[in-house]
Subunit: 352 residues, 3 copies
Amino acid sequence: MTFVRNAWYVAGWSPTFGRELTPLTIMDEDIVVFRTEAGKAVALTDECPHKRLPLSKGKLIGDSLQCGYHGLTFGCDGKCLRVPGQSNLPPSAWVRAYPLHEARGILWIWMGEVEKADPALVFDLPEFDDPRWAPHHGDALQIESNYLALADNLCDPAHVSFVHPTTLGNPESEDVPIDCAREGRTVVTSRWIRDAPPVGFFKAFGNFEGNVDRWHYYYLHAPCVAVIDFGSAASDEAIGEEERDKGVRLFALHFLTPVSETRSIDHWMHLRNIGLDDEEMGERMNVQFRIAFDEDKAILEAIQAREAKPPARRPLRIAVDRGPNLLRRVIAEMLEEESSPSDEKEPVQAVS
Amino acid sequence: MTFVRNAWYVAGWSPTFGRELTPLTIMDEDIVVFRTEAGKAVALTDECPHKRLPLSKGKLIGDSLQCGYHGLTFGCDGKCLRVPGQSNLPPSAWVRAYPLHEARGILWIWMGEVEKADPALVFDLPEFDDPRWAPHHGDALQIESNYLALADNLCDPAHVSFVHPTTLGNPESEDVPIDCAREGRTVVTSRWIRDAPPVGFFKAFGNFEGNVDRWHYYYLHAPCVAVIDFGSAASDEAIGEEERDKGVRLFALHFLTPVSETRSIDHWMHLRNIGLDDEEMGERMNVQFRIAFDEDKAILEAIQAREAKPPARRPLRIAVDRGPNLLRRVIAEMLEEESSPSDEKEPVQAVS
Amino acid sequence: MTFVRNAWYVAGWSPTFGRELTPLTIMDEDIVVFRTEAGKAVALTDECPHKRLPLSKGKLIGDSLQCGYHGLTFGCDGKCLRVPGQSNLPPSAWVRAYPLHEARGILWIWMGEVEKADPALVFDLPEFDDPRWAPHHGDALQIESNYLALADNLCDPAHVSFVHPTTLGNPESEDVPIDCAREGRTVVTSRWIRDAPPVGFFKAFGNFEGNVDRWHYYYLHAPCVAVIDFGSAASDEAIGEEERDKGVRLFALHFLTPVSETRSIDHWMHLRNIGLDDEEMGERMNVQFRIAFDEDKAILEAIQAREAKPPARRPLRIAVDRGPNLLRRVIAEMLEEESSPSDEKEPVQAVS
């Protein structure tokens, strides 16, 4: 099992959820989401504890959820309010209620211990509030792949030269070395490709006439949030690493949600520092992103399909794996931490 | 394994079977059914003992069944009559012949020990011969569910309020207590809902102007036959429990056939005490039944799908489960009885 | 595991392969085939040793194959030529290269030990070069069946009377005895049906007016090549067994390729001694063959589907099984030989 539970995951874009009962599966858990009459989102275990019918097959009565088989009714906190045909409520008549947090048009869900669900831990970016930046939502890409293979891909600037030759990469970057660092639970991989022709994306949106300096900074906030800071500036401006705002700069955000060990959802969006009022430019950029992310999806699904067969050999490790290797260590630490008792007692002193 | 073998099961409606080779699967056993030239139904194991080809891929030669691979030919009793290319018949050249019984337009099959296949045990109802009643055949509903979950449903009047709100139930019955009794291998669950508006079915067929008294008697003859006696009478008539013939009364019959541990067929039909010569009324009633039984199918298949995941918790038991719990005890007894040696010897006296 | 590795198998018809990357699965091994710029066929393991992406998702750069994920590049011998982002080549950076041989419009692949891949062992027939014979390619029939069940079928003249009643068989042959012999690793089953009406195939192509003598000789060259010599001559000519060229005579060739334990491909073709320049006759014959081979496919797939259930009984053995039984012994010997150490040392003398 590779799931880190104590983390906020994206349940979906906010407008996806309303008064209808929406079933989701996250980390193999079946969850039903709905909004109360007042509009607040609620997430409960999508299974009646009586006969296991998904509660999403039932109906809302006000803010209560009634099972579609025998009418057991649950409140927003998951407690049973009614068992038709009897006056008492059995103590085991409840379902799990998941902590939720809603911000920036995104509904976040906490899959771990309730008391650790701190809204301050929800991912955010100051640029969302910065008038020099325009955010633009994207899609929810369902990928038949373990989420870690997808996260590997987001610590791995090397693949763009080969997987995205028409949009985000080109041959000039094939052998450019990659920097790799860890900052707490964030893995940062990056490289600059100086004085080279612009890639397809910046040909389309940069109006560059000559060579550019191009950068890729991948921030993978383990387990499941990636920020890709990438952009280009005319090479004759010779900007420094910290002067990226002088160029055409984007943040591509990926929020990974593990559905099962072999399926994930990637909710993606971008922020950009050009065409702030140009919605149509945002959509045209998303068309390019969709091309690129479908290329990733094809690669990752082909690899996942191979996992059905045991590997014939030990995997080959190469230089560009440093980012993914670092990520796997961070994930292993987080899993190890979750498997330890959360409130450890002082060791009992052995009587001597 | 949850299958009770020593019982008559419905193989299908009689008109379904003719001279063509019809493959069936019952309790995971592959069976081929056909009629002889004289019209008598025959059921044999649908697998040649030579190379395992389904015999239903072969052809009838008179009343004999010839395998489509090498021409081995079997008679109606399952004995091999011919092995092309050799003159002798190997002793192991036979297939199983299943006892059959045909009555009331239904073909019944016995899945257990041949010597126990007593036609007197085939389900029947005196109302089939009663001129005050009209029988009307229905469908064969294939349900992706273990047959016991389906049988539970047929010991469970409580679900109609929630699963069938437009046809057989309404909110007035939600909290009305249920009587539950065992009569031999029959589980009887029942309730009366007195002085309430009629449900959709009786609005359509009863011509009631005011409130009605409505009854539901569910007779589950374990393992696989259910008779649901339900009806309504005007409340101001104040009929007694044994005066149900004074109202609009129906018997809905369900014959459950286990296909596998996760699939069942429900052959259903009804008898009614109104509109005896009105075939068209019978069809309109069946339209209502189809709506209701498709609602059951949706519920049961959603539950069966959940069985692919181990349950996270022990199931919650509630008051309305008494009927299904009783049924499970009857089934357990029948399975226990079948697993015991059928002709037990006196225990040998230990030498002391 | 039933696969004999040290043998030449058909990878496909030669024109199937070109500069595009063609993925194949043989014996559960994923293989990618392509032609070099000079037209020579190459077969490599279709999986990058780095992240397991199928190399067939990559692209050719000249005669080298570049992985579509991180650009690792392999030569025609399977050795890695480049790992982008680093200058050294890890010793484990290679994929397997399979020996190939191309002849008669067929690409053959060797699945076993490379040093045993002797082109002299590739199946051939002198009639390919004989001006009195016309070869005619057929199809590649994918069959959901273990290849040995298919090979059984090709040691089994008895089935044609029952499986192919309109094309290759008729009732006259049902009880005619079959001769069976072993010649090295070839199983030969045969029979003559003398003085009987012609079967559908020879009605269509023989212009016979009366009865014919019909022969079937099945040569199964274990593990995977079958030659079926069959034909007819007018009975009043009373030809001898070695005078088959006097009649209308065909060789139907079947080249079996095991894809997995439950799937096989049958590449089939024919040679004929009539209508040598009549391509259209060849196509009409293939139409008849397609009918017959689809009948085999239906039988074999129905049997394979049954293998998902454990058999309830020991299989019945009958007289016509002698050919298949002999084949299974040859296969068992070949598997036994492959599992033994290939260069056995003299046993060490125990010190006494």
